[in-house]
Symmetry: C2
Subunit: 341 residues, 2 copies
């Protein structure tokens, strides 16, 4: 799989010319149809366009059914291509639909948000939410290509930047301590995005290449995500308190860095750096007493667990991360308490 | 992946002991729960049992949802095992559910019918029907093991034997002309089933091993299936005229052998042998004038097509088969006419 970071005016026509697809479709949501599709439509041969509603709440089986039905109605055969143009929901759901339609047709990812460019688009994790559990049904399959154009996200609102930036921070913390020391000295608005996107993609590709189906080292990409996902899922049910993915992961990284420190895996100085920077960029998520139990319960559904025991990816230094570290409910509870106060 | 043909009292405990699963579940339908589960339950550690309704009409997304929900409620993690105990529906659907639950948990197939033992259990094709199209949504993934015990199907009604036998005939016709000359001289009841199951599994494993995702040679396993599947799908809608898989494939093999003969690929003698034997075992499916157009239209949805053109696997000798042969609607129409008269 190739990841190309360049203007789509170059990468997309080249990809299409190098392949011989029997048909092409573009999957968009109501936002990317309006704001992103016009930027690519002229680089495509004759194609169908499938539109789904925007938002994580539509990342479900019912939406998959509409995509499968669209492919079926258009009589797409196994030699067709699906282009997923959008953020993480489009990439995850569209990829899953393509990977399962007639047991798999080709697909490419054109991620349009910072978050999907540095995270979801690389690594082949596809899937949908199921009865409240995130990415609960899915497969691992790499796209034929990932085409990244940073012009897309630079027109997006700031909250999209904040959402994606947490994954960039994570990549630095788990794999590149020197880069962490660069970004943490800069405000969100002073970052060099082209450089950071390329850097994050490189780190993620490298880790995923060593362990595509997450049997080992790939688990370090979950740093901040055990508690982060639990927080994100918990607040999803309440529209007023819903979190950005980046906000949830930032909170998860602080809490999990605290656990790593308590276990003697990282020094107090690194924990303080992480806290200080992430609170400055993301603020503090308000977690009420009544939120604690449900959030802890959600960690039991985490895909990294074994025999009902939570296992985390935990930092063991700046730019270094361990995985499969058993963590007790009491340790998580203390970490959330620490985060709150 | 290993395929073991031996009593389950030996193969199943051995498999379980060689692995270290966090949890085990058995998927059955209402029939295999009653007739097959008692034969294996004592060889299993503590386990859950999930029961789905019997029948192809339940091989759909709604049934998958109940299986996914069962796995979720039981808090199965990624290190769990699903044992699919039943015919093709259980294996295809259960395999698909396992391959997609948390992006994939281990599963083994214990096929209980002749058809599933010689066909569905080997080859990693998993999936479900979707809005009337057979196996329309699915993935390719090999099970950890296939455990075959021929004691199961020998207690089943004759129509189960007839249904599975067509795939055995197909394997001989496409890959072993000498074996074809043995089986065609014997009545259905005089066949050596242990030998034939092992023979079919060996042929299928060999072909699938060369081409797991059906880019080339694996397509020869579709001999008889382009028109056979179309007939099966067409008559599925009418309970009174519904066909056994074997009946449909037998009809498909006769019609497609006719096409091969008309194209000069096989001699008249082989066509006559095929016709004579398959009509004797399966009788003749009644195809009305009004059935012809819908059946031909269904072939356009065949997964082997390219650019809307039907491509078939066609015999080019006894024990030999070509694939990707373009076939026109007129040729298929003539073949169905020939079959009918």
């Amino acid at each position: 799989m190739s990841v190309l970071i360049s203007p789509l005016a170059e990468s997309l026509p080249t990809f299409i010319q190098q392949h011989n697809y029997s048909a092409v479709a573009v999957l968009v949501d109501t936002n990317t149809k309006r704001f992103c599709y016009p930027a690519i439509k002229n680089f495509l041969p004759k194609h169908k366009i499938f539109t789904i509603p925007a938002g994580e709440q539509h990342k479900n089986l019912a939406t998959c059914e509409t995509v499968w039905q669209g492919l079926t109605n258009a009589q797409f055969d196994r030699h067709a291509l699906l282009i997923n143009l959008g953020g993480g929901v489009i990439g995850d759901l569209g990829g899953f639909c393509a990977a399962t339609y007639k047991r798999g047709i080709d697909f490419i990812q054109i991620p349009t948000t910072l978050l999907s460019q540095v995270d979801a688009s690389v690594g082949g994790k596809l899937g949908i939410d199921f009865h409240g559990f995130k990415n609960h049904i899915g497969v691992f399959k790499l796209p034929e290509a990932v085409l990244i154009d940073t012009a897309f996200f630079q027109t997006l609102p700031e909250l999209e930047l904040r959402s994606g930036f947490a994954e960039i921070v994570k990549h630095c913390l788990i794999a590149d301590g020197a880069k962490w020391n660069i970004i943490r000295r800069r405000d969100l608005h002073d970052q060099d995005w082209n450089d950071l996107v390329a850097h994050s993609v490189e780190i993620k590709k490298n880790i995923v290449g060593q362990d595509p189906t997450e049997r080992g080292i790939r688990k370090i990409l979950n740093f901040g995500h055990t508690l982060g996902h639990a927080l994100e899922t918990h607040f999803l049910a309440d529209p007023k308190r819903r979190l950005l993915h980046g906000e949830a992961i930032a909170a998860g990284m602080i809490a999990e860095a605290f656990i790593a420190h308590r276990k003697g895996m990282i020094q107090a100085g690194l924990l303080e750096q992480i806290e200080e920077y992430l609170f400055a960029v993301y603020g503090r998520v308000t977690i009420a007493d009544t939120d604690l139990e449900p959030v802890l319960a959600l960690t039991l559904q985490d895909k990294k667990n074994r025999n009902g025991q939570v296992r985390m990816a935990l930092l063991d230094g700046p730019g270094s991360c361990a995985y499969d570290v058993p963590v007790t409910k009491a340790e998580m509870s203390r970490a959330l308490e620490y985060y709150r106060t």
